[in-house]
Amino acid sequence: MYSDKVIDHFTNPRNVGEIEDASGVGEVGNMKCGDIMKMYLKINDETNMIEDVTFKTFGCGAAIATSSMSTEMIKGKTINEALDLTNRAIADALDGLPPVKMHCSVLAEEALKAALLDYQKKSGKNLGLNEEDFEDWDEQ
């Protein structure tokens, strides 16, 4: 059912945990299945570089693997690069997900955007993120 990469990221998830003094924290719930993901970002205010990122996920194998993969994909990247990350790109990086599990990858994309929104609020920078977009997502 799951690709070897999914199984690998599920079995050995990268970047699990919390960041005490995170620059931004995002928590999203997946309305479709009741699962929850929380993402912590440590951002260099000067360079806009994501220096550290961690996650915590209550969710299925696909949710955990996409959480793990997404942190790998944005670590060391700039905020702009992170904003371009889509759930499809995460799924592709995992060699795909079963169709019924595609929605799980949305969790990772959403958590990241929520964390960046939190950073936007805290830092006062304008990243072009909109609170309302998230409320919409929540009801998807």
């Binding site: 479709k32 929850i36 929380k38 915590k56 996920t57």
Partner: protein
């Protein structure tokens, strides 16, 4: 790595005695039982012997046994066929919120046809109350379906009491005994049922064969149409190999029941105590007493079921989270939700169902492996605050 199959409530391997009987059919008795020649007659004979065995196993008459293509089909012929055939007598039906989908979806279909259905609620243990049932009865109640034992949480229902009330009031009573045969006594006369459904693959028989018990004189309707086989209730060339296989399986299951159920009950209790004792914030779903001997169902809080299953699988432990049939779906088990669990707790449920091959070492192994799995997943969980 050790392999521990603890998903016997989903399906069981075919036992050797059953396989031998089936191989005999495949190799020697391949005629069509409807044919009158020397290739057909032995097939007919084997089929009728199988019917006798099944009848004996549940204290019925061979004439009351209809072979179907699955447990699902038996449930449907009883419920959908039974309700339609007796529509003139009334429009009200009663079942429970914790039935298997083969029963629930049959009632949903009947609702669309205009029947009114009362779904009885269950208590925290997954059991209906007989008083609720009595209150639900109406003058136009024609058919009641209440499962004998629950496939997810192992709750045994008070079917004898329900049966007696239905018999007295001349209401048709069906019970789904797919999970109970070979585990607890299944006696159609003691239960006082008009219909009863069984399935081969839950008792070390083949998949794709079921039995509908139908009390003499009771009327139902076929759901599909064709040749005259099985009194026209299940048309199509009879699956002789599976029919014979099921009959051997049920005969052995009933013969071994007492001893095997005692053994399984002890292992079950050890497994429950072991898990609840080693992992904090874990709850048993379903009752401690009046529980099917092969069923363990626990919720490990703050953990999601599929992640738990996958982790178990990586340690060689095959389990299930809710009903096997629904594991493709995303909704938490309707049974656990009906028992009052929160969405999150229901999601973190794990069903471990024991069987013939299960040993004490298996149980020890599972207890030992489950704790680190729970720790690891909880460490990853945003809802676990410790």
């Amino acid at each position: 790595m050790r392999k521990v199959y603890l998903d016997h409530a989903a399906t069981t391997p075919v036992r050797q005695e059953v396989l031998d009987a089936m191989m005999h059919v495949f190799k020697e008795v391949y005629g069509n039982p409807s044919s009158i020649h020397q290739f057909g007659r032995p097939a007919r004979k084997l089929m009728e012997e199988a019917r006798e065995k099944v009848a004996k196993a549940i204290n019925a008459d061979p004439k009351e046994i209809v072979f179907t293509g699955s447990g699902t089909e038996a449930d449907n012929i009883a419920i959908v066929g039974g309700a339609r055939a007796n529509k003139k007598k009334g429009n009200h039906l009663i079942t429970t919120v914790v039935e298997h989908h083969a029963v629930l979806d049959a009632f949903k279909a009947l609702e669309k046809e205009g029947f009114e259905v009362t779904y009885l609620p269950v208590d925290a243990d997954g059991r209906i109350s007989v008083d609720d049932f009595k209150n639900a009865l109406r003058d136009d109640t024609v058919l009641v379906s209440i499962m004998h034992g629950n496939n997810e949480v192992g709750t045994i229902m008070p079917v004898e009491e329900i049966g007696a009330i239905c018999r007295e009031r001349k209401i048709l009573f069906h019970t789904d005994a797919v999970q109970t045969v070979g585990k607890i006594p299944v006696d159609v006369k003691a239960i006082n049922c008009d219909f009863l459904a069984l399935s081969g693959h839950k008792i070390y028989g083949p998949k794709g064969i079921g039995v509908l018990y139908m009390r003499r004189g009771v009327r139902t309707q076929p759901l599909y149409f064709g040749g005259g086989q099985e009194r026209k209730l299940r048309p199509g060339t009879e699956n002789v190999a599976n029919i014979v296989g099921l009959s051997v399986a049920i005969e052995l299951a009933v013969a071994e029941r007492e001893q095997e159920s005692a053994r399984l009950s002890a292992l079950r209790d050890k497994l429950i105590d072991g898990i609840l004792g080693s992992i904090e914030e874990t709850r048993l779903n379903g009752p401690r007493e009046q529980r099917l001997p092969h069923n363990v169902n626990v919720s490990i809080e703050y953990i999601e079921g599929e992640a738990l299953l996958l982790s178990c699988d990586m340690k060689g432990i095959a389990a299930s989270s809710g009903s096997a049939c629904t594991s493709g779906s995303l909704d938490p088990s309707h049974v656990l939700m009906a028992m009052g669990l929160t969405h999150t707790t229901a999601h973190g449920s794990l069903r471990l169902s024991l069987g013939k091959a299960t040993t004490e070492e298996d149980v020890d192994y599972v207890i030992e492996q489950l704790k680190p799995i729970a720790d690891k997943l909880r460490a990853m969980s945003p809802v676990w605050e410790r």
